[in-house]
Symmetry: D2
Amino acid sequence: MKATHHAFHLAARAHQPENTVIDLGPVRVGGKDLLIIAGPCAVETEEQIRTLAKNANRAGAHVLRGGLFKPRTSPYSFQGLGMEGLDMFVDAARTNNLLTITEVLDPAHLETLHDRIDLFQVGSRNMQNFPLLRQLGKLDKPILLKRGLSATIEELLSAAEYILLEGNANVILCERGIRTFQNDLRFTPDISAIPLIHRISHLPVILDPSHSVGDRETVLPIARAAVAAGADGIMVEFHPHPDEALSDGSQSLDPAAFMQLVKDIRVVARAVGRRVAG
Amino acid sequence: MKATHHAFHLAARAHQPENTVIDLGPVRVGGKDLLIIAGPCAVETEEQIRTLAKNANRAGAHVLRGGLFKPRTSPYSFQGLGMEGLDMFVDAARTNNLLTITEVLDPAHLETLHDRIDLFQVGSRNMQNFPLLRQLGKLDKPILLKRGLSATIEELLSAAEYILLEGNANVILCERGIRTFQNDLRFTPDISAIPLIHRISHLPVILDPSHSVGDRETVLPIARAAVAAGADGIMVEFHPHPDEALSDGSQSLDPAAFMQLVKDIRVVARAVGRRVAG
Amino acid sequence: MKATHHAFHLAARAHQPENTVIDLGPVRVGGKDLLIIAGPCAVETEEQIRTLAKNANRAGAHVLRGGLFKPRTSPYSFQGLGMEGLDMFVDAARTNNLLTITEVLDPAHLETLHDRIDLFQVGSRNMQNFPLLRQLGKLDKPILLKRGLSATIEELLSAAEYILLEGNANVILCERGIRTFQNDLRFTPDISAIPLIHRISHLPVILDPSHSVGDRETVLPIARAAVAAGADGIMVEFHPHPDEALSDGSQSLDPAAFMQLVKDIRVVARAVGRRVAG
Amino acid sequence: MKATHHAFHLAARAHQPENTVIDLGPVRVGGKDLLIIAGPCAVETEEQIRTLAKNANRAGAHVLRGGLFKPRTSPYSFQGLGMEGLDMFVDAARTNNLLTITEVLDPAHLETLHDRIDLFQVGSRNMQNFPLLRQLGKLDKPILLKRGLSATIEELLSAAEYILLEGNANVILCERGIRTFQNDLRFTPDISAIPLIHRISHLPVILDPSHSVGDRETVLPIARAAVAAGADGIMVEFHPHPDEALSDGSQSLDPAAFMQLVKDIRVVARAVGRRVAG
């Protein structure tokens, strides 16, 4: 990448040499700690989300992820419970000492969600939805910004700039696989994006191994690889009964596999001078 | 592509064997006529848009394209005149017997734009902005839906399905180049998408050669290629003084080159049994 | 592409402003004429190749293509008849006034093939097989150099440079589809490569629509598109009974479809100031 | 990937459930040990290769890599010393207790090289050079087969099958970056290929981080990531004075950085139950 970027400025390490560190309470993202976000693709039932939250907390996760509004390729796929799932999602998290993150598709939902949700996620389809980014830039909550399927690093950091420019400095970037010719896995996790982003930006960056590969068995080695490459955390899908999930079951870990993943990550984290808090 | 698609249904040729034909008055899109849309990347000044509209009409264009709200990778790039450009844009078109098309980024703008604009464009960054697609599905105006940079044909047709499902049957698809390893040109125009879409869908499909290649000199041969492959039209950028354009000047044609392009297209159209009306 | 290329020199239009024109007798490649090469993926039987040659000549082809040694992804796929197919291939062509082209995998075969074959083809897997390119550079026969699946234009022209540098000026380039995320068709035909190559090199460039798309129905529109974009010819697979072909049957035209293709190409060629000789 | 593969059989884990382990003496590749190959892109001078060999051995490398015949995109780039470099290369390695590996471009070189070289490398440009693969299948030396820039895993394993089928069971696969739209780094290292290959094949797989990223600073994190993902080793470029290297200097480590890399890898290896022998 060229030495100077006219496309972004606030997001550049040249502008701010020290890492942005976002204090979430149990974990300081961008510091020594690794952030662990876990949860189902979509909130489905009270029982599902409660079981997950309990397991997530036990395994060592810090944030419960739960899709309320799901952006789906086809209008005929399950679109999420919407606001009906909000209470059960937040209650399950609170009861188990977990923070909450959910994806926002529509700025109109922010008013209702704002007081209940701790972090907001921008999905890869919306990475360049600039009106949405600007709205999120006005909030006082951290934003997890996922890289688009074919976004360059410059485009990702420029999208972050739209948020930063409105005054919200708490942006966490998320690599989630890029679209390449390779079609054995759903996408190609771009592990090289992690050190590259760290070099040119001060923002923390985590990896979503579940969407990157779309395949349960490959999630663990890719999560370990991301941590070894310097990722500031992991966002992973799990489900009490992955094969019954209403969406993305094939890439979801069951609770035992998720326990194993956190265990693996703890060991690799130590090897590279990081740690999993809690 | 697999014979059956669960992702879309209304957009499939299996559902509607005959072509969707959209009657715009001077041109019936999806029939024998080719649709020619031309105009600047962004509406800049009254003089610029008036000169363009006059030249566009003379050369044989049917629709004047003009960006009011420009989605730009960087927040520091020119973002368009916004609603301030609306009157000059519409007046320039009306005076020169041209229909109008502009890109919508935000459903909140639709109320103001609705009565002034003839066709609405969804840009490639918003191809999967589902709340926006649903809003556009409720309108009685034709929608030009641009393919995302790395969208598959199934994803494009599924995005169209979101519009169709709300009741708006007048969707025109637009190929605008895909992101590949090739980096001599800005994108790789996927000419093969044109016959492929025609085979599996009844919706018309046009090509935007300007954004596909990002390079003035390659626009003409690619426009001819698209027509030879069966495209239902062309959307092309031009500018009275391309080198002074506030955005995308390097890919804009000057009025003389645009005249040549329409002339070339007329001849190729005849060779494949189509015609440029007017 | 950068203005100066250190990677190639003889292949550059800056070095030789006028087109390289290769006189094959019935057709001058790189001039006004379009070159039509047709034939089966592999020579299979005497009857097959004779029937094809007769049909190819009738339809207007100039060169008979026939694979003797087939490079196949798997060692368990049909590898071609080898030298056993040579006589039947050459006889079929001669009897029908066609020139011959075959792919060379191994420089060791050149001695036997040299006096019988009119043009030699380098397949995309061997585009950067430099010892092979150097051998072919010493011959007095035209070389058809196919672009690698993920080769840039600079890499293709640099590969041509290896041939030119040994003294053989008669190189014809061939676009045959690039590997992208798109997987509805086998590859993505890069039509934009045609005008791009013409701008920076004086060498003729043709398109292989059959391998580009791997799908019979899409071959015709893509062949027309290539001619409209300025291609100097077409290489197309056909077979008397495509569904019984030992390799690549799904992309082969039957004789009637091939007749239609040449007819279509004649019309488009005229529209862009070219012609199909014969 | 589909459950059954007709393209390869001997290379499949379904055919041989236990890992292939290749005993190189100091290290058993495919077992618990990690293989470390290091050396310059090209052998340049006696002093260069001797210094490197001494440093490589000290840092913990097992095999000295040295290009004699370099496949270069442009015929005007340095093509390697050829056979003139052989003695200095082999002597430097032997003196420092290192095994030797070099790339073969031409089967004609094998006779001279066979008794001096311990492992033969097939470069990514030659992954589907089937006559070369068949020749190497007849040798009694291990073969390092590099993945092509845009080769699928099926194509890589099918290429390995050509070697295995001739009787040589000692094939080591090597991921070296794939070509994608991402152009901040030279290629995109496909870390996900490592667990995927391990699942469907019994052959060992290593990573070349230097060619994958083409950028010194990113080599270390990517090497650590590969080991965390389960790679059986690393092949890395280093040079006593990277900025004076005749080829690929920008991606070469200097001796101190290489020491650090091996140190890092030792720690990550332990975290995932592997070790660096020696």
